[in-house]
Amino acid sequence: MSNQKDIAKKIRREALKKNWRLFKRSKLGMIGLYIVIFFLFLSILQPILFITGVWNKGVYDPVVGYSEQFQEFLVVECPKEYPTEKYKKRSDCPGRTEVNIRTLFYSDAQVGETIIQNLQPAPPSSKHILGTDSLGRDVFSQIMEGSQVAFVLGLLSATLGVGISTILGTIAAFFGGKIDAYLMRQSDLILMLPTLPLLFIISAFAELQVWHLAVVLGTIGGLGGSVITIKSQALQVKVKPFVDSARITGGSRMNILFSHVLPNVAPLALLFMVFSVTGAIASESVLSFLGLLNIDMSWGLMIYLAQVEGFIFSGMKFWWLILPAGLSVTFLTGGFYLVGRGLDEVFNPRLRDR
């Protein structure tokens, strides 16, 4: 008996190895995997930095941290016509260490004087490698926090969603009849609801924390279209000879369902999962960007804050407020997408080139 188990284990390990080899051959999949691992590393690094004391929580905390960076500024009056001797273009005034008198409000300073002012948002320095935002918080730390949020949200909602749709899809395929009809109509219903407005509604509900959102996204995703796809896959599995033989040899329905049909639907489900991670992260970012979520920190929120503060149209002058968060969203979702592509080639032999 144990021997049999060992063999089964060995076969599984071999299969895994083979799949891994196939996956490794997919250039795109590997690029994606590296990206995902990079962000995973970032999200793990932050707590380590805090625990080991390399980072002081008071300064580097992504939400309530504050880095005091005062600097002397020369009060100048920007000319109306350009170019002048000092400034070539109008974007040159005020310079890095200057402040335009017209924008001073609570100050009696005159042109030519220097005043001490807070430097936020401060550009990247050795202390803050991606600079700070306008509230003096470390952007790099925020990126790490956002990365944690993205992983929690993406993986949780994807797992939940795919779990639900796999179970429902298999049940629909396996039991058919009324159950099938009910589940399919339920999917129709969910598909009829327009996604983005639906998310607006949901975000208006009580305090929506990250994991609440993950559950909501997962449930909506899990009840919607993926049930239909998984069902059709399960239907194909259901008519395979080994399922018949299991039935003939007296396997219970549940047994057949769980030990034969589910494992054969699993690769497709895994694929779905990877792709729905992308969707979940993107949804969160869009909601944050529209200012509809009440979470402490995320990439979408970072961009939103940069936007409401008016940094987004400053060209590249405040690039550290815009680019890191925007690119993180793009790259992590893209990374997961590429991993999905790679897996697709592993599980779908027709996509392989040889």
Partner: protein, 322 residues
């Protein structure tokens, strides 16, 4: 006159596990109007040979050595557009599994006309249609099938249509790659007769590829037996049948029931064909050789065809064994 001359053809596929040498040093010739058979187990390289002739091997397959001289011209290394001229109007092919040879969303007639347009750009649609109806007549199909979609046809009809398709551009050589595999026996027989008839009526050369040695016997003038990418025995069909020399040929013959002649005990082919990855040029059949004779089981004999008599060759390895 030789319509086709294959000389020392080597072909290999790159795969995840290493290079597969699917065709090794294959040489044979086909004369005009002659039918030539290739027989062997699954995976022995028959289809690879057929694909090499049209240079239709998968992207990872490559002809590494040898010449294919068709109609006096070496077609190995020709450019894609030159090859396109050879294909179908020079060599056409009837694939195994006719159901999959048709594009499911295009009408039968259109798919045939499409080939004709490519090779006879000046013909009008009416001329083409007329010709298709003639061809359908030859293969025993109704002209109404022109406007049908592939899924509306039965398997046998599809296969007949495939033959008509293969004939549409007046090829000099038709390759029939297991054309009857998926068909039931009665239809198989009809199709075989059809092919034979067509070949005789139109005076075409034919390469018939099958795993069924009985069919080969019925269909071909000359034949070759392939094993693991190499030809192990080749010659006039009746000579090979009456006097098989190679152990593998013998095994193949003995594994096939015959409804005529004395009752014989059927032998199953023991063992599996070897993996074709990274093999050398030494005897690949030795370990399956049924004979206990050391000479027969000697792996170190280099494979090479040796002449038995006129128009009959066999491989040196495992010759006269079993």
């Amino acid at each position: 006159m030789n319509i086709l001359e294959v000389k020392d053809l080597d072909m290999s596929y790159k795969t995840i596990d290493g290079d597969v040498e699917a065709v090794k040093k294959v040489s044979f010739t086909v004369k005009e109007g002659e039918s030539f058979g290739i027989v062997g187990e699954s995976g022995c390289g028959k289809t690879s040979v057929a694909m090499s002739l049209l240079q239709l091997q998968a992207d990872n397959g490559k002809i590494t050595n040898g010449e294919i001289i068709f109609d006096g011209k070496n077609i190995v290394g020709l450019s894609e557009s030159q090859l396109r001229e050879v294909r179908w109007s020079g060599i056409s092919i009837v694939f195994q599994g006719a159901m999959n040879s048709w594009n499911p969303v295009v009408k039968i007639g259109e798919q045939i006309r499409e080939a004709m347009r490519e090779h006879y750009p000046d013909k009008t649609k009416e001329e083409n249609t007329k010709k298709i109806i003639e061809l359908f007549d030859i293969v025993g199909l109704d002209s109404s099938i022109i406007d049908r979609f592939p899924h509306e046809l039965s398997g046998g009809m599809k296969q007949r249509a495939v033959i008509a398709l293969a004939l549409s551009c007046d090829p000099k050589l038709i390759i029939a790659d297991e054309p009857t595999t998926a068909l039931d026996v009665v239809i198989q027989d009809q199709i075989l007769k059809e092919i034979r008839k067509v070949q005789e009526v139109l005076g075409l050369s034919l390469i018939y590829i099958s795993h069924d040695i009985a069919v080969i016997a019925e269909m071909t003038d000359n034949m070759a037996v392939m094993y693991a990418g190499s030809i192990v025995e080749m010659g006039k069909t009746d000579k090979v049948f009456s006097n098989p020399k190679h152990a593998y040929t013998k095994m193949l013959l003995e594994s096939t029931p015959s409804i005529v002649g004395p009752k014989k005990k059927l032998r199953s082919l023991d063992g599996e064909p070897p993996s074709l990855i990274n093999t050398d040029s030494y005897c690949s059949f030795s370990y399956r050789c049924p004979s206990p004779d050391d000479n027969c089981r000697n792996r170190n004999i280099e494979m090479e065809l040796t002449k038995i008599d006129s128009e009959h060759y066999a491989d040196k390895c495992c010759i006269n064994c079993g």
